[in-house]
């Protein structure tokens, strides 16, 4: 699968007008400092022996010419084939005209340190005439932040929930793949949980099977749930269990005992990668979870316990898990914060020997104000989790923000479901689609912490805690 890269680069230097006093139509006899703050994103991994082109976006400041203006452009990385790393950046000048910086690092492998960090270039005006020259340098002191900013990401899947809904399992033994949906009928406060899982037992001669369960969490009574399967794994790129249960993009239909459901859902927002996409696509971790449709709306009907629930815009999420099995212990939260904002938390202790002694490692993704935070998913490993029932917490900080999450799963709103891993190990999941959550987002300001947002979800949070006997 094609992989892309993303990194942030800061370069600064000086620029000089080619005809003093004429650049940008103003008196600027000696140019001045210039600085790029750009994010480079390439559709494929950088290659030493090849040429990779990508997009640049960020800001540019050139004293007297452009003051902290948005900049977009392209980057071409070709360290051996062309011995060149070329930057083309378009930006608006303070005078309203369009300018372009075009320059390249010319890689000389006998002077690799200097040539890899020096970027000479020219600035052309709207009429394509050169108005200035500039030389920028990458400071080695910025190298750690550049390296820390490097992200490897899949290029195709993140944008496409349909592909993300496709079956990952490729016949290998000892795998567990899950499609699960949780949603809340906001009119009645009823919570729903559909869990579809494909289990490929660790024993290679044991056939894989499909199974799952459905649960309804009415506000006026105890939750009910029933299992379906196991059944042979159906054909096709999605999940199916026999003829009864289908989980396809936008469609959930099936039957479990006395329960039935026939649902459609849609979501116009982008997938939420709780774990880095590389972890999802390349199986870098024992298991990974992502949310292809984090703010989905469900329509249709669910029949449970003799009642029919007609849904027309139930809010929830469709998520995926793929890996070797369930964690040693875990907690999960999906909180729809409204206005397209959403918080996804997974805190887990792996089952692998040695790692199973660790405290649960939280992975947090907050979609807030149009961005996914933290920018680097794994930055949330600095969070701490305290798992317990009925209340568990996750707290931590990244950058200049701090997040504190408290989840409460009252026992009467929970179901306890027995899980079986591919290797036959058992676990117990205490799940509630009517949990409470209290979320506090703070921002550092003037040496202290200032409340930025606070959310309280009363009975609309989706959460679970998994434990081993």
């Amino acid at each position: 699968m094609s992989k892309g890269m993303l990194f942030k680069e800061v370069m600064s230097g000086t620029w000089q007008p080619v005809s003093p006093g004429t650049a940008a139509g103003r008196a600027c006899p000696s140019g001045g400092p210039i600085r790029f703050d750009v994010v480079a994103e390439t559709p494929e991994l950088l290659r030493l022996f090849g040429t990779v082109s990508g997009a640049l976006s960020g800001t540019l400041s050139a004293a007297g010419l452009a003051d902290h203006v948005p900049a977009t452009g392209t980057i071409e990385v070709s360290p051996i084939e062309h011995r060149r790393i070329r930057y083309t950046v378009d930006f608006p000048g303070d005078d309203g005209a369009s300018y372009r910086f075009d320059g390249w690092k010319s890689i000389d492998w006998t002077h690799v340190l200097s040539t890899w960090t020096t970027l000479p270039g020219t600035i052309t005006g709207p009429d394509d005439r050169i108005v200035a020259t500039a030389t920028l340098r990458f400071a080695w002191r910025d190298a750690p932040s550049l390296l820390a900013s490097v992200r490897v990401r899949g290029t195709r899947p993140p944008k496409d929930p349909v592909e993300l809904a496709g079956r990952r399992w490729n016949g290998r033994a000892g795998r567990l793949e899950v499609w699960y949906d949780t949603f809340t009928d906001v009119d009645t406060g009823t919570g729903f949980w559909l869990h579809h899982e494909l289990v490929a037992p660790s024993h290679p001669e044991s056939p894989a099977f499909a199974r799952g369960w459905a649960a309804v969490f009415p506000p006026d009574g105890r939750p009910v749930w029933e299992r379906f399967g196991p059944a042979p794994v159906g054909d096709g790129p999605w999940f199916s269990s026999g003829d009864e249960v289908r989980a396809e993009p936008g469609v959930r239909t099936g039957r479990a005992g006395s329960m039935q459901w026939d649902l459609r859902y849609e979501d116009r927002s982008a997938p939420l990668f709780t774990f880095p996409s590389a972890a999802w696509h390349r199986e870098l971790l024992p298991a990974a979870q992502i949310v292809p449709c984090p703010t989905a709306e469900y329509r249709g009907s669910v029949v449970a316990d003799g009642r029919t629930y007609e849904l027309s815009g139930a809010r929830g999420a469709s998520a995926r898990i793929y890996g070797h099995g369930n964690a040693e212990q875990w907690a999960w939260l999906h909180a729809d914060l409204g206005d397209g904002d959403v918080l996804e938390v997974v805190a887990a202790t792996p089952r692998r020997r040695g790692l199973n002694r660790l405290q649960p490692l939280p992975v947090v993704r907050l979609r807030y104000a149009g961005r996914d935070w933290p920018a680097a998913p794994l930055a949330a490993v600095r969070f701490r989790a305290r798992l317990d029932l009925p209340t568990w917490t996750v707290a931590g900080r990244w950058g200049n923000r701090r997040l504190h999450v408290t989840v409460t799963q009252p026992e009467e709103r929970c179901v306890r479901v027995g899980y079986t891993d591919p290797d036959g190990a058992a676990a117990t999941c205490t799940n509630s689609e009517r949990a409470d959550a209290h979320i506090i987002l703070e921002r550092r300001s003037s040496g202290g912490w200032v409340l930025e947002r606070e959310w309280s979800l009363d009975g609309t949070a989706h959460a679970e805690v998994g434990t081993r006997p």
């Binding site: 080619v18 062309h82 060149r84 270039g121």
Partner: protein
């Protein structure tokens, strides 16, 4: 421009002074002045040439010590003369003396004749300098873009640039040398100009037996700045050979003729007018007529020529119409720009496609220009070298097949005053033997010391000859040679040329032919350049001298190197295809003398320009 350092190299000053005194029989104070000038001139030479000269001075000094017990500069006049005679008589030592005479005679000529040549300039220039968009590399941005980069601003590069610029492409012409103005040509001493205008200050030598002096111009305009201005249309038989034997369709005489017509119009080619012909040319015409040989005033690109005889050091009247006065300004008028004082370090390429050039400035810094098309027109010696250091020199024939159109000179002593420096430098062509023997005789009167003519002897004898130099008429002859040289090296060009025996025989025949012309014109004696028979007084002696000529001791110069990246249809033998594209990479064309498949057999200026035009038209589509 800093003043040249007049100090001689450390340790060579007494030796050089002694040598100057001995060679030209000069009193000590004059010898000191001359030695200082020679030393100043030597400083412009490349290090290996300086080293060779210093070794030569030291060897002469050591020979003096060996033969007389005293160093050269301590000898009295009589002892010095005796020593010089002895050195001129010895085989190896005579070669040494001849070699050392070149810089000393050149400097002496410039020192004594130069001021008079400048003083003679009373008329204003025939035309002002052309408007050129020239930017020295130090003022050029480190990064820039172009549609086409043309490397070299000589005959080929200028013509290619003009065609491409007129096709609407953004053209950058890169020139290693700088721009010269007519003001400089009028006011600076000939020797200083000589040092600036030529690669390696004119000390380019093709190694071999004999070594071949091969001056190559360097400046905006390339060798057209310093050539004689002689314009020959490419002979049809040469074009047919290129078409039929090498598969160069563009060389079809019918297709090539309009290109030559255009070049003739660009250069304003016209025969040498009688009023500026000069006595040297008239001698040639007279001699040829007496023999019944075909001769004619040469066609030249020098409208308004005043007969200053300074073509070789830059025309002080801007009359010689080099490409810096026509094709380059034409190109600049439609947007081409010239980057001067910029040595192209390598042609950039990746994934089999040219992407631009990397250029070194005089201060050592580099600049790069990205362009999808690169036209290499750096000349037959530099083009293969550049391609090699760019990693594009894998074709086994690149750098081979060097033809140089070797030339020898013969001079005649006349009773009447000739004063060959008054009149056109190259004025008359005698083509009687051209078709039959490939020998083209041209009356060529270079400024003192700057031609390939080496007056015989040394000491008082040489001084006496210099005293009546205005009675000397000089002819030159070039022969259509086999491609028997090659250019090796990647960082700098090393030229190897092994004169073929047949070509050497023809050079001797050319000497004989020139001697006959001179005798027929009334010469009392002829200077042959043949060792042991330097001066002959009759045709019989001339014929006898020719039978004794030793090929390896001929004084050979060459002005027309060609063929080192020859074009043609066979990808095994021709590094450049018939359209001028360098094989093995996309986006690189060659458009200079190096693409000519064989020696063009005439002065190649027009041929190069027409072929570059054809190649550039192919690029422009």
């Amino acid at each position: 421009m800093t003043a040249p350092d007049r100090r001689p190299p450390a340790g060579t000053r007494p030796a050089l002074e002694g040598l100057c005194a001995a060679l030209l029989d000069l009193p000590p104070h004059e010898a000191r002045v001359l030695a200082n000038e020679v030393a100043a001139m030597s400083r412009r030479l490349p290090s290996h040439a300086r080293l060779a000269l210093s070794a030569g001075y030291a060897t002469t000094d050591a020979l003096s010590l060996l033969h007389t017990g005293s160093r050269l500069h301590r000898l009295g006049a009589a002892q010095r003369e005796a020593l010089v005679d002895r050195l001129c008589a010895g085989t190896g030592t005579a070669d040494l003396v001849d070699a050392l005479k070149v810089p000393v005679l050149m400097t002496h000529g410039a020192l004594y004749a130069g001021p008079e040549m400048i003083a003679r300039l009373t008329e204003p220039p025939a035309r002002p300098d052309a408007p050129l968009d020239v930017t020295p590399s130090l003022s050029w941005p480190s990064r820039s873009l172009a549609d086409v980069v043309v490397i070299g601003s000589g005959a080929g590069g200028a013509m290619a640039a003009r065609v491409l610029a007129r096709a609407g492409l953004a053209v950058v012409v890169i020139e290693e040398g700088r721009r010269f103005t007519v003001e400089e040509f009028r006011n600076r001493a000939a020797l200083d100009r000589f040092g600036d205008l030529y690669r390696d200050a004119g000390a380019t030598v093709a190694l071999g037996r004999p070594p071949v002096i091969m001056p190559i111009g360097r400046g905006v305009g390339g060798t057209t700045l310093v050539n004689s201005g002689t314009c020959y249309r490419t002979p049809d038989d040469v074009l047919l050979r290129w078409r039929d034997e090498h598969g160069v369709d563009a060389a079809d005489p019918v297709r090539f003729a309009p290109l030559l017509d255009d070049v003739e119009a660009t250069l304003q080619v016209a025969p040498v007018p009688d009023e500026v012909m000069g006595e040297n040319g008239r001698v040639a015409l007279r001699g040829a007529a007496a023999l019944g040989w075909s001769s004619h005033p040469l066609a030249r690109n020098a409208p308004g020529c005043g007969g200053m005889c300074q073509c070789a050091v830059g025309c002080p009247r801007n009359a010689k119409f080099g490409v810096h006065l026509n094709a380059l300004p034409d190109a600049c008028a439609v947007g081409a720009v010239i980057l001067s004082e910029a040595r192209v370090e390598r042609v950039l390429h990746g994934a089999g496609q040219a992407t631009g050039v990397r250029v070194r400035r005089p201060d050592g810094s580099v600049l790069e220009i990205l362009a999808p098309r690169v036209v290499v027109a750096a000349g037959a010696t530099e083009t293969p070298t550049l391609l090699r250091r760019s990693g594009l020199g894998r074709h086994p024939h690149l750098g081979r097949n060097l033809a140089v159109h070797p030339a020898v000179s013969t001079a005649g002593w006349f009773d009447e005053r000739i004063d060959s420096t008054r009149g056109v430098l190259q004025s008359v062509g005698i083509d009687e033997l051209h078709r039959s023997d490939g020998i083209l005789i041209e009356a060529t009167a270079t400024p003192p010391g700057m031609g390939s003519m080496v007056l015989p002897g040394a000491g008082r004898r040489l001084a006496e000859q210099l005293g009546r130099i205005d009675h000397l008429a000089t002819l030159g002859a070039m022969i259509a040679d086999a491609p028997s040289g090659r250019v090796v090296g990647a960082r700098r060009a090393i030229v190897r040329y092994d004169l073929a025996k047949a070509d050497a025989d023809r050079l001797v025949r050319a000497i004989t032919a020139m001697g006959r012309v001179l005798f027929a014109a009334g010469a009392t004696a002829v200077v042959t350049g043949i060792r042991g028979h330097e001066t002959v007084h009759s045709e019989a002696e001339l014929v006898d001298a020719a039978t004794h000529a030793r090929h390896e001791r001929l004084h050979v110069a060459a002005f027309h190197p060609t063929g080192t990246a020859r074009m043609g249809a066979d990808d095994q033998c021709h590094p450049v295809d018939a359209a001028g594209r360098l094989r093995g990479v996309r986006g690189v064309w060659v458009a200079d003398a190096s693409v000519l498949p064989t020696c063009p057999e005439v002065n190649p200026q027009m041929t190069i320009m027409a072929m570059a035009q054809a190649i550039a038209q192919g690029i422009a589509g």
